[in-house]
């Protein structure tokens, strides 16, 4: 060590290789291992794949950033009273078998939506609520999505979906028509129903090991 260079002295090679090894380790742990563990997770028997219309609605959900206020991951009753709010049981990996991109979310400015379809299966409620949330939920801070609707004086054309608004919002001689995006979004929201029983969290071969969740 006397010749100037010590073992720890930083040079380009040590720096680059050290940085790469460490990144590789983290990627292995947080990306590759979950990949290997989860790639064979089967969808639970009760979970239906999304229809084309529902997938289109999911895109509307993504495009308008619903995920920035709504999570889709009820937590375990030991951690939070999510189930008591009617948001459903703690979710498991299989519940998301058809969810790409994932929409787990990080905020609950609004309620969790993983089971909104079971809680609120009415198309009319959802359409009206998207048009003006405060007409349905006083004190809500959700923005109105007027751009998903067409407001017209006069009659609706055949085949168009007229939104049934509450009396406080309805104006005489005026109809509010749901655009296809709004209908697709509502179809997606109503499809959010993971109330079927959950399977074991991970079908990994773990002989005689204790599992945290049943």
């Amino acid at each position: 060590m006397s010749a100037g260079k010590s073992f720890w002295e930083m040079d380009e090679l040590r720096l680059i290789s050290g940085a790469m090894v460490i990144l590789g380790l983290a990627t292995g742990l947080l990306v590759v291992m979950p990949y290997l563990l989860l790639e064979n997770v089967e969808p639970p028997a009760g979970l239906k794949a999304y229809s084309t219309q529902q997938l289109a609605g999911r895109q509307v959900y993504i495009a308008n950033g619903c995920v920035y206020c709504h999570s889709q991951q009820p937590r375990d009753i030991k951690l939070a009273p999510d189930a008591k709010r009617g948001w459903g049981r703690a979710s498991v990996a299989g519940d998301y078998a058809y969810d790409t991109p994932h929409l787990l979310g990080t905020m609950r400015t609004g309620p969790d939506l993983l089971n909104i379809g079971a809680r609120q299966p009415s198309v009319d409620w959802h359409l009206g609520h998207l048009y003006q949330p405060r007409a349905y939920t006083p004190g809500s801070t959700m923005p109105p999505y007027a751009f998903l609707f067409e407001v017209r004086q006069g009659e609706a054309k055949p085949g168009e979906k007229v939104v049934n608004l509450p009396p406080s919002l309805a104006k005489p001689g005026q109809v509010v028509i749901a655009k296809p995006e709004a209908l697709a979004l509502v179809d997606y929201l109503i499809s959010l129903d993971r109330t079927y029983p959950a399977l074991a969290p991970l079908p990994v071969k773990q002989p005689a090991s204790s599992k945290e969740q049943p």
Partner: protein
């Protein structure tokens, strides 16, 4: 052995083992000549001499008085040293000027996007007629403008400016960085348009569509080229701390971004773990290294005094890389992900106290005893404040990873406040200070209105104080309300409203501060103000070289 137990045990033993080897070699003095390495950023004639191009001549005199009164602030380094310094600075001026100008534009746009988002959270019926202005679009526009626009380009600009000074040679291959910065900016612009028109990828921090991401990967890699080319020409014996952080950051980012955005690779819950592997690494392995590189350079440089301990910085660097890269899983506590993954991330989040402590001791010990210097140096005021916020944000982050705390704060505005403490309190403050130092060198022009620097400082400090304190309190109450099954969800929404309004006021002050900063930046760009090109630049030797004999302003 059980899979979960073996993964946990393996990671734990690796961490502890590495730490012990480290401490052992430190005690044996195997780290080499720390003093020489720490003084590598000074010319021999320069030690003890303060430097702050953002300070007025009077401020600089007082700064020198506060640090080492025996030296004259206007005394200069030798002509040879000054000459090479001038050539080093000139080699970066174009590319740095371009990067920082773009960064400042992104900052102003991002501030307005943030302010609009903030107001919309408590006034949901405001400005709802346009799709692109809906909360779910303007919020990610704010995040991406800040992350990839302001923070990344400011960090890149500051890093490129430091490279020739750290390696004591001219920058080689500036054109690659210029091209990289251009591709990057085109990417950011296209990405913002994509989000505004509803073409987001839907993942937080990864909203840009993959076709646009290619521009950021290639641009990010190109920006690193000048560093590698300049390293080949380096004239220094030791690589200074800042070089490690810059080099590692410039390597890490393109890889992270490439893996995270690879189309069709990720799925379901695995995508969620990848999302937060990226989401936390973009902070820990991209912004943090660039921010620390700047504070490790500018704090000693302004004070004219080497950092407290070179060995601590070595410990800080490697432990930051190791622990920070594995903390992402703490974003999914209570989520449908393997529990070993969350546990590892919680443990490593706590281990982050080691690098944070190393950096904190190192940087704060350098400043300790010289706090009066903050009064006289605009650069230092921002950077030291930023360094303090780094410590605060990191300790807060470690605590937030604990299950008991996370149960309250997860899904609430508390987390938003914490994110701003890191990326604003730490990173953005350090960048402000760095830009105040750098721009007079880039433009050969002093800041025209020194009072605006103070105005900027106080506006953003007070604004951010209001922002952080009220949002933290509101977020905590929101979390408690959501955990209480007897409180309805709507009550948890209603109770946040006054805090969200306070946040908008804080955010408005911050935006105002940014407008002052941008105005001053462009006033300098157009060379407004009195011509005071003088001693606050490089001193008389440099002046003589530049302007010929007898030029003293």
């Amino acid at each position: 052995m059980d899979f979960t137990v073996s993964v946990l045990l393996g990671t734990f033993l690796l961490s502890i083992g590495a730490l012990f080897i480290f401490i052992w070699s430190m005690s044996k003095g195997l780290f080499g000549d720390g003093v020489a390495a720490a003084t590598e950023i000074f010319e021999p004639s320069e030690l003890g001499m303060v430097e702050d191009p953002a300070a007025t001549q009077a401020q600089k005199g007082r700064l020198q008085q506060a640090m080492r009164p025996s030296m004259d602030a206007n005394q200069s380094m030798t002509v040879e040293d000054a000459d090479s310094r001038v050539r080093a600075d000139r080699s970066t001026s174009l590319v740095v000027g371009v990067c920082l100008t773009l960064a400042v534009i992104w900052l102003v746009l991002a501030s307005f996007a943030g302010l609009i988002s903030s107001i919309k959270l408590h006034s949901p019926d405001w400005w709802v007629q346009f799709e692109w202005l809906t909360f779910g679009r303007i919020r990610p526009i704010h995040l991406n403008l800040i992350g990839y626009g302001w923070c990344s380009l400011a960090g890149i600009g500051v890093a490129i400016w430091m490279i020739p000074r750290l390696l004591k040679t001219e920058l080689v291959g500036a054109q690659y960085a210029l091209l990289g910065g251009a591709l990057w900016s085109i990417g950011v612009t296209a990405g913002i348009v994509a989000i505004a028109t509803g073409h987001s990828d839907g993942l937080e921090w990864l909203e840009f569509p993959w076709q646009i991401d290619i521009l950021l990967v290639v641009g990010g890699a190109l920006v690193g080229f000048p560093l590698w080319l300049t390293l080949l020409q380096r004239k220094v014996k030791h690589l200074y701390v800042s070089v490690w952080y810059i080099a590692a950051g410039l390597l890490w980012f393109p890889i992270l971004f490439l893996v995270a955005n690879w189309p069709g690779l990720h799925f379901g819950v695995q995508e969620a773990t990848m999302n937060w592997w990226f989401g936390h690494n973009v902070l820990g392995l991209w912004f943090t290294p660039l921010g620390l590189a700047a504070s490790y350079y500018f704090i000693p440089k302004v004070l004219g005094k080497p950092i407290h301990s070179y060995n601590l910085s070595l410990l800080g660097f490697w432990s930051l890389a190791f622990f920070y890269s594995q903390v992402g899983g703490h974003h999914l506590i209570g989520g449908p992900v393997p529990s070993w993954l969350v546990t590892i991330s919680i443990v490593q989040s706590m281990m982050m106290i080691i690098p944070v402590f190393a950096v904190a001791v190192n940087q704060h010990m350098t400043v300790l005893g010289n706090f009066r210097a903050l009064n006289h140096s605009p650069t230092l005021r921002f950077i030291v404040l930023g360094a303090m916020m780094y410590t605060a944000a990191s300790v807060q982050g470690s605590l937030e990873a604990l299950r008991a705390v996370n149960a309250v704060t997860h899904f609430t505005h508390y987390t938003v406040a914490h994110a701003h403490l890191g990326l604003y309190g730490f990173f953005t403050m350090v960048m402000f200070g760095s830009i105040y130092f750098i721009m007079p060198r880039v433009m050969n022009w002093e800041w025209p209105y020194p009072k605006l620097i103070s105005l900027h400082f106080w506006l953003v400090l007070v604004g951010f104080g209001i922002y952080f304190i009220w949002l933290t309190i509101g977020g905590w109450f929101q979390g408690l309300a959501m955990l209480d099954e007897n409180t309805t969800f709507m009550q948890s929404v209603a109770l946040t409203l006054p805090y969200l309004e306070a946040r908008s006021i804080g955010g408005a002050l911050m935006t105002l501060g940014h407008l002052v900063f941008a105005l001053h930046f462009f006033a300098m760009g157009w060379k407004f103000g009195p011509k005071r090109l003088g001693a606050t630049l490089l001193g008389t030797a440099w002046m003589t070289r530049l302007l010929g004999k007898g030029a003293t302003a």
